[in-house]
């Protein structure tokens, strides 16, 4: 369970470029919640994910994950509890390392790393099976460098890595935004399968309103660093894009971009 209380993040504090990115966010996720996050540019969607992941310290508030107060923990220590997939397909994997080496790194997330061999033979067969389940033909390319893969393949591998060691929380930060529509759909399906299969708690930021409605059991909308709409269950299932647009307008967001509506 994730509990975010009164989270405040101000960028460039005390300068002319000061910007309040999170303005007192409160959010509680129940175990197994798959929450989609939408909002305009600068609404604080990615910021809230980065705050939870610990990319930088927050100015106020607390983040408690499954009873651990992680507010002050450095990013690499929080990684023990959190799996992440980034918007940029280049960001989630080590390009110059092999697919199996990347997976082996992820397998040891949250463990101390010593002088034992970085990967064991038993792991290799496990990874082969997992890659097979992606259905991208990667199971025969265990020793290929990840840099040789397409963006979609890299995101799929990153998803595997994020879930290889079951995380308490999975953070997906517009992870299909940089992909073509067909690949994006495939990666979203893989995401949903992984989340369902492991019964993960997940936060997924998206620019695409249809996806936000189609996936997950709960939807939150952000504007100007606050959560302005939080809907789940039946009500969420019956949502339409037009409902969301209306909410946007009510929040004073007139710069809804075409991509959000059309794609």
């Amino acid at each position: 369970m994730l509990e975010i209380k009164n989270l405040v993040k101000i960028f460039n504090k005390g300068t002319i470029n000061e910007r309040v990115a999170l303005n007192g966010v409160n959010l509680t996720l129940n175990d197994g919640d798959f929450v989609t996050v939408i909002g305009g540019n600068g609404a604080g969607k990615s910021t809230i994910l980065n705050a939870v992941a610990g990319v930088w310290p927050v100015d106020e508030g607390s983040i408690v994950l499954n009873g651990h107060d992680i507010t002050g923990l450095p990013e690499y220590k929080r990684a023990k509890y959190i799996g992440r997939v980034f918007q940029d397909p280049m960001m989630g994997t080590a390009a110059t390392m092999q697919i199996e080496e990347n997976l082996a790194l992820a397998k040891r997330r949250g463990q101390s790393r010593g002088l034992k061999s970085g990967i064991t033979g038993k792991e290799r067969s496990e990874y082969k099976e997992l890659l097979k389940s992606l259905d991208l033909g990667l199971e025969d390319r265990l020793t290929s460098k990840v840099g040789l893969l397409s963006g979609g393949q890299r995101q799929a591998v990153t998803l595997l890595m994020a879930s290889l060691k079951k995380p308490d929380l999975l953070l997906l930060d517009e992870h299909t935004a940089a992909l073509d529509p067909k690949t994006a759909k495939k990666v979203l399906e893989i995401s949903e399968n992984i989340i369902r299969e492991h019964n993960l708690t997940a936060l997924m930021v998206t620019h695409n309103m249809k996806d936000a409605i189609a996936y997950g059991n709960r939807l939150i909308m952000m504007s100007e660093g606050k959560i302005i709409y939080d809907v789940s269950g039946e009500e969420k299932k019956n949502l339409k894009v037009s409902d969301l647009l209306q909410k946007f307008e009510e929040a004073g967001n007139d710069e809804v971009n075409d991509a959000m509506v059309l794609s």
Partner: protein
Amino acid sequence: MISLLHALPGSVAQGLIWGILAISVFLTFKVLDYADMTVDGSFCTGGATCVMMMLSGQNVYVALICSFLAGMIAGYVTGLLHTMLKIPPILSGILTQLGLYSINLAIMGKSNQAISVDQYALIVSLRFINYSILMSVIIIAIIIALLYLFFGSEIGSAIRATGCNQNMARAQGINTGRCIRIGLVVSNGLTAFAGGLYAQYQGNADVNAGRGAIVIGLAAVIIGEVIFGSRHNFAVRMGVSVVGAIIYYIVIAVVLQLGLPSTYLKLLSAVLVAVFLGIPSIQSYLGIKVKQR
């Protein structure tokens, strides 16, 4: 021509010893993606430590281990400056290197300390070039084997991931600051070890011994990659850096033979490295020119 052939074994021996330094530059520059200037200081620290230990009666192996340890400390200092105080990589290295100049003088007591192969059991010496080549090859083989195992381990993989993509590394729970420090410690330990061997080979430790070491190391790594490519397994890539160092010293011997005054050697090294580092940019620049026509 004959004199060039005579100079060849010496170039190979020197190339092999500098090849160890090339491996450590390969580790920082290519694996860790960190341009570490510390080596200019820690190379000399290694030589100074080795010679002074031997002059005080220690055997050569103990002396070399102490060189290695001294280099490790230097690398750790650079690592702390960068990871704890957030000083940029190049500046961190320069600061340590500058500080080491004083420390190196303090270790030696003066700017040069001689050690004679007649009085001490040295591993390498320019008086016995063939033996030196043999010993260097054995030592390099051991170093490459150990480093290959180390970088295949959990912590070694974490260091490689840190050098490749720090965002990914942190997301996988890797303490990237610690990995950078370990990488610098190993690399500078190795550099100082090379410095210790080089002092033995030359028969003295000199406070100016490491000047430009980073450039020679880079030249070796780049020459190796340009000639043999970079798509090899990790052990082969380290070996290629050593071969790059040997080629570098052969080229130097040829150029000297052709009549270049030795005072221009450092300029030549700098130009050589600048050209090779610039090859990608030069290629793309020429490529655009061609298209415009």
